[in-house]
Each structure stands twice: as structure tokens, then as C-alpha cells.
């Protein structure tokens, strides 16, 4: 990786890393006392209230991508890019009514995979599992890479050490506390993130002259102000549809829908969308000031943290470090928990151990967290490419799930063959667009093809579906397990 001058002394960086690592692991152990049953470990007892529900959704959606990709979008695609990134909040708004519907149709559900299996059958379920596990791993790897990149840029901690520390700290506290620990730490992390981003944004506004920023961009980077820049025009709906696909299909969001109390999900997702919306705008603005401030970045995904650190000096570096750690941890733990749920419930229980009781499934869930963390760590070691390229590649797969999921929740007549064909054709054609047109068109094309297939097949071959089939019985409890928690988090 090309040399980028750090802002914080390495000793300070190591101290902060150690401090937060110990705190988070202790919190995981503390909250883990509640996570005895399978429902407790995987779904926090299905009893999460509005405040924690909103905080966990917002914190999970504020990933390091928000802090790093939002500025990258701004510096690559200009004004449109900044707005394009903020459209990702629309996915949260739209999932709000869907969360209610999911809870209503599947009161004993565990994963998004359960829904696809029961709604569309095994073939579609297998294709869906490949897509969702691949995407979850991609997201996890991008988070781990981001951790290594930022800790290196801000505090000079070697990439491999920083990346390793972030992923294994998250693994440990998720292992101890399950979704209780994930949601509990999310609440703290959401406060840190909001305070940190607002603080950095306000201080930068006081140090940066808006006229100078505009003049600098106009002179040095004129294309960023060009509203007819083709790349920017293409990226707007690509990002919005990517956001839809990510939220509609991924078990990170479905597990929260299952975890929240009845009627809380809709409000929590809506509130979280509004809380999240200004964050990428603030982060994007920071990037546009880099020219006026004569700040050099060696990689576009580093522009946010580097500008914030260099403008604010060591104090800024400290804030950036803490905010990045919080946003990374809040996303990595969610991914580990949700992906292990998919593997435990959809792969291990359904395929290999259909008679496993709750205690056995709880153990399998723990082991799958460990395996996932190790796998993500191994893939992140070589630091293959910048973050945006990694995520754009998964875009068409994710976007192809939008209509099979949404239509599957509301349309009785959407059929199995249509859903399967939509997933495959959306992915294939979207990947074609990735290589032939541009990476930032792939999700849009994938979503369009998938939508067309679902609509046409529903119209040509309608198939009546009985919604009661989605209400599957939960796995048996072993005598030694406690009942699911009735105590609010």
C-alpha cells in the first residue's frame, strides 16, 4: 500500500485499540449472561424496544462504508455522488413496513433464508443462500479491510495488525453475547458515531471557507460540479437499488425485524433512516474540502478519515479513530451474528442436523461465528482492492433479490420459477453490465432484469400461495435451556 503519513502517534493508536477492545469484550461477556437460549443468542429474546431497536439499525447501517465510501462517492462522482450515497437511507424507510409484515407472517422465523425456503422452495433457497452468504462475506471482508486501512492511515498501525485486532475483538464479544451484545454495543456505538460525525462536521465548517472550497473544486476538479457527468448520473439509482437489495435480503436486517417487539420494527427502521440520512452528506462534504485544504490522499476510500484527521490534527485523528472503530464494530458484529444465524439455521439445521435441539444449535452458532471470522481474516490479509470495487461486484447479486423478496411478501401469485429465474438472470446480466458498461451500473441492471422477470412470470403463470405456510414451528428446547427472555434489553 502506498505510504500515507499518519496523524496519531502509533503508541496512542495501540492504546486506543487495546482500550476499546477490552471494553467491548467485557460488555459482550456482561450481556452474554442473558443469551442462554437460542432465541436469546440469535434474536435477543425477540423483545427489543424502540430506542435500542432504532439505535441498532442506525449503528449497523452506519458502517465504515458510510464514513469512508460516502466521501469516496463525493470525490469520485461529485455532488451527485454525495446525494447518491444518502439514498441508501430509502432502503431503511421501505423496509419499515416490510419488517412489520415479516413479523406478522413469521412469528417464529429466524432468518431471511427461512422465508425464501418456505415461500419459494429449496432450489430458489439454495441460490439465495449462495448470494446472501457471498455478499455477507464480501461486506465482512470490506469492513475488516477498512479497519486495517484506517488504523494504518490514522495511527500508523500496520494494516495486518489493525485488521486482525478489529475482526477478532468483534468475534469474541459476539461469541460471548450473541445478539444481546451486538444490540447493546450498537446503542453505545450509535451515540459515539453521531456525536463524532457532528463534531467533525461542525469543526471543519469553522475551519473551511466555503468560497475557497468552491473555487478550488471549480479550478482543480471541475467535473465534480458537473451535473451532467455521465458517471454520476448512472451511479444515483445504482446506489439506491443496491441499498434496497442489501436491506431487503440480508439477514442482518431480518434478524432485527424478528428481534424487535411487535409493532416496534416499523417505527425503528423509519427513525433510523432519518437519523442516518445526514451522516453521509456530512461525510461527503468533508471530501470536497480536500483540494482547498491541499490535502493529498493515496486511496479514495481514505479521503474522509485523512481530511478529518489533518484538518483537526491529533484531536481529529482521535475522533476519527474512535468513530471508525465504533462504526466498524457495530457492523462486523452484526454481520458475524446474522451470517452465523443463516449458516446455523439454513445450512446446518435444515440440511445436516434436522433434529438438533436448541443447545446444540447454540453451539453450532458459536462455531460458525469463529469460522466466519477466520475466513474473513484470511481473505482480508492481502488487501485486494479498494472498498468500492469490492462492493460493486456484489451489487447485481444483491439487487436481483429485491423483487423476489418484496413481491414474495405481498403478492400471493408470485411463483417459484419466477423467483429462481429472477435471481439468476438478474445476477448474470448485472455482472455483464459490471464488466461491459461500468461497475457502478451493475446493481441497477440486475434489479431491472429481476423485476421484469418477476412481473412477467407472475402474470403468465400465477401460483396461489397460502401465507400460513410461513408460520413454521420453532426448534425443540432442551430441558436445560431457559425459555426465551421476556425481559426487555
Amino acid at each position: 500500500m502506498a505510504y500515507q503519513s499518519p496523524v496519531l502517534p502509533a503508541g496512542v493508536g495501540w492504546f486506543l485499540l487495546l482500550f476499546f477492545s477490552v471494553c467491548w469484550i467485557l460488555l459482550g461477556i456482561y450481556w452474554g449472561r442473558k443469551a442462554k437460549s437460542l432465541d436469546g443468542f440469535m434474536l435477543a429474546g425477540r423483545n427489543v424496544g424502540l430506542a435500542l431497536g432504532t439505535a441498532t439499525v442506525m449503528a449497523t447501517w452506519v458502517t465504515s462504508n458510510t464514513i469512508m465510501l460516502a466521501p469516496q462517492f463525493a470525490i469520485q462522482f461529485g455532488i451527485w455522488g454525495m446525494l447518491a450515497y444518502s439514498t441508501a437511507s430509502f432502503g431503511l424507510f421501505l423496509f419499515a413496513p416490510m419488517a412489520r409484515r415479516i413479523r406478522q407472517l413469521m412469528p417464529n422465523g429466524y432468518t431471511s433464508g427461512d422465508f425464501v425456503r418456505l415461500r419459494y422452495g429449496r432450489k430458489t433457497w439454495l441460490v439465495f443462500l449462495v448470494i446472501t452468504i457471498f455478499y455477507s462475506l464480501t461486506w465482512l471482508v470490506s469492513m475488516a479491510m477498512a479497519g486495517g486501512i484506517v488504523l494504518n492511515a490514522v495511527a500508523g498501525i500496520p494494516y495486518h495488525y489493525g485488521m486482525t485486532a478489529i475482526i477478532f475483538v468483534c468475534m469474541f464479544y459476539t461469541l460471548f453475547g450473541g445478539l444481546y451484545a451486538v444490540i447493546g454495543t450498537d446503542y453505545i456505538q450509535s451515540i459515539i458515531i453521531m456525536l463524532g460525525v457532528v463534531l467533525v462536521g461542525v469543526v471543519i465548517l469553522t475551519k473551511v471557507n466555503m468560497g475557497e472550497v468552491y473555487s478550488s473544486v471549480l479550478e482543480e476538479q471541475p467535473a465534480l460540479l458537473n451535473v451532467l457527468l455521465p458517471a454520476s448520473i448512472m451511479v444515483i439509482f445504482n446506489n439506491l437499488l443496491f441499498g434496497f437489495g442489501e436491506i431487503f435480503h440480508n439477514n442482518v436486517w431480518w434478524s432485527r425485524a424478528f428481534a424487535m417487539r411487535k409493532n416496534v420494527g416499523r417505527q425503528a427502521f423509519t427513525l433510523a433512516g432519518f437519523c442516518w440520512l445526514p451522516i453521509p452528506l456530512a461525510a461527503g462534504f468533508i471530501a470536497l474540502g480536500s483540494g482547498a485544504l491541499n490535502i493529498n490522499v493515496t486511496s479514495p476510500d481514505m479521503i474522509g478519515p485523512v481530511v478529518a484527521s489533518q484538518v483537526l490534527g491529533s484531536f481529529g485523528g482521535l475522533i476519527v479513530f474512535i468513530v471508525i472503530f465504533a462504526s466498524l464494530a457495530s457492523s462486523i458484529d452484526s454481520l458475524l451474528a446474522a451470517t452465523s444465524d443463516i449458516i446455523t439455521e439454513d445450512v446446518l439445521r435444515k440440511k445436516f442436523f434436522p433434529h438438533a435441539d436448541e443447545a446444540a444449535l447454540r453451539k453450532m452458532s458459536g462455531w460458525s461465528i469463529i469460522v466466519l471470522a477466520l475466513f474473513a481474516w484470511a481473505i482480508s490479509l492481502p488487501k485486494l482492492d479498494d472498498l468500492l470495487s469490492v462492493l460493486f461486484f456484489a451489487g447485481p447479486m444483491v439487487a436481483s433479490t429485491i423483487w423476489p423478496i418484496a413481491a414474495g411478501l405481498y403478492w400471493k401469485k408470485t411463483n417459484r420459477l419466477g423467483a429462481l429465474t429472477a435471481l439468476i438472470s438478474g445476477t448474470v446480466v448485472g455482472l455483464g453490465a459490471y464488466f461491459i458498461i461500468a461497475p457502478y451500473t451493475a446493481a441497477l441492471v440486475g434489479a431491472a432484469v429481476s423485476m421484469l422477470v418477476v412481473i412477467v412470470t407472475t402474470w403468465l403463470r400465477p401460483q396461489e400461495f397460502d401465507w400460513k405456510k410461513l408460520n413454521e414451528a420453532p426448534p425443540k428446547s432442551s430441558p436445560s435451556d431457559r425459555k426465551p427472555s421476556t425481559q426487555a434489553l
Partner: protein
């Protein structure tokens, strides 16, 4: 002879020490080898692309040094602008309008010695057609609105069914 050294030993020793010290300092201050000052971009030009951004990276110098990156409108660099001067070994450049650009980089050694310029790198930016961009924008708008309509209408219908 021996008496000469006895009498003037301290002086001779001091002179010897000074000569050695001067020689050592001269060695330390010797201008860097020519190879320490050579630098080149990591990518071979000319580059053609449709994106308005790219990362320019160059080979690191073996000794501690800074770099100077310049941008010009032609390979002669008649009126170049300095894009970056510092220790980083890459620079992300964005907001490029449709045009041809030329970049070059050189080493600035610790003692201020300037290295030779690298071979110029030509980058030509030609955007994707606007018609394609608007077509994809329209498709995206239709898909997004249709998805929103599906969820909103579906939600209303299910609520109505629950009330019934």
C-alpha cells in the same frame, strides 16, 4: 624520529582525527547515487479511461525523500501545475474533465537535491455517452418507483385485510 612523535604526538593525532572526520563527513554529505533519485509511475502509459478519476502511484525511493508530482497539458510541460509535494507515494486525482493530461514525478532528496523527472504519463479521459447515462437513469427511476409502489400498496392492502 621517535622524539619528534613524542613532542608533537598530540598535534599529529589531532590532525589525523580531523582528517578522518572531514573524510567521513564528506562521505555522508556525498550526493545520493543517481539510482536513488530515479522514480517512475507504477503504470505504463498511455492510459485511456471513461472515469473522471484515477490513482497515480510511483515507485518508492530507497532513501528517505519527498516527491513532486506535476500535471501539464502537453508532454513538454510548458506551464505545469504542481499537484502534490510531500512524502506520500501516490496521489488520487479526480474531477477530470474530458481531455488529455500529462503527469510526471520526481524525487526531492533529504538534502534538497532534485532527481530527474520520470517518463511522462499520458491519461486521456473520454466519458461514457450521455445518452447511455440518461437511459440507465430512466431505467433506475422506473425500477425504484415500481418497488416503492409495490411495498406501499402491499402494506395498505394487508392493513385493510387485517381490519376486515
Amino acid at each position: 624520529m621517535f622524539i619528534f612523535f613524542q613532542k608533537h604526538g598530540t598535534l599529529l593525532f589531532s590532525l589525523l582525527f580531523l582528517l578522518l572526520a572531514a573524510g567521513h563527513l564528506r562521505l555522508m554529505a556525498a550526493p545520493p547515487n543517481q539510482t536513488d533519485l530515479d522514480v517512475s509511475f507504477t503504470v505504463e502509459g498511455p492510459v485511456s479511461q471513461s472515469d473522471p478519476y484515477l490513482t497515480l502511484a510511483w515507485t518508492p525511493a530507497p532513501a528517505p525523500a519527498a516527491f513532486e508530482l506535476q500535471q501539464g497539458a502537453s508532454a513538454e510541460f510548458k506551464e505545469p501545475s504542481v499537484r502534490y509535494r510531500g512524502r506520500d507515494q501516490a496521489s488520487f486525482v479526480s474531477g477530470l474533465a474530458e481531455n488529455s493530461y500529462f503527469f510526471r514525478v520526481r524525487v526531492i532528496a533529504e538534502n534538497g537535491t532534485l532527481g530527474p523527472w520520470s517518463k511522462p504519463l499520458q491519461v486521456t479521459v473520454k466519458y461514457q455517452p450521455l445518452s447511455r447515462a440518461f437511459f440507465l437513469f430512466s431505467v433506475g427511476a422506473v425500477v425504484s418507483l415500481a418497488t416503492i409502489a409495490l411495498v406501499v400498496v402491499g402494506d395498505r392492502q394487508t392493513r385493510r385485510e387485517e381490519e376486515l
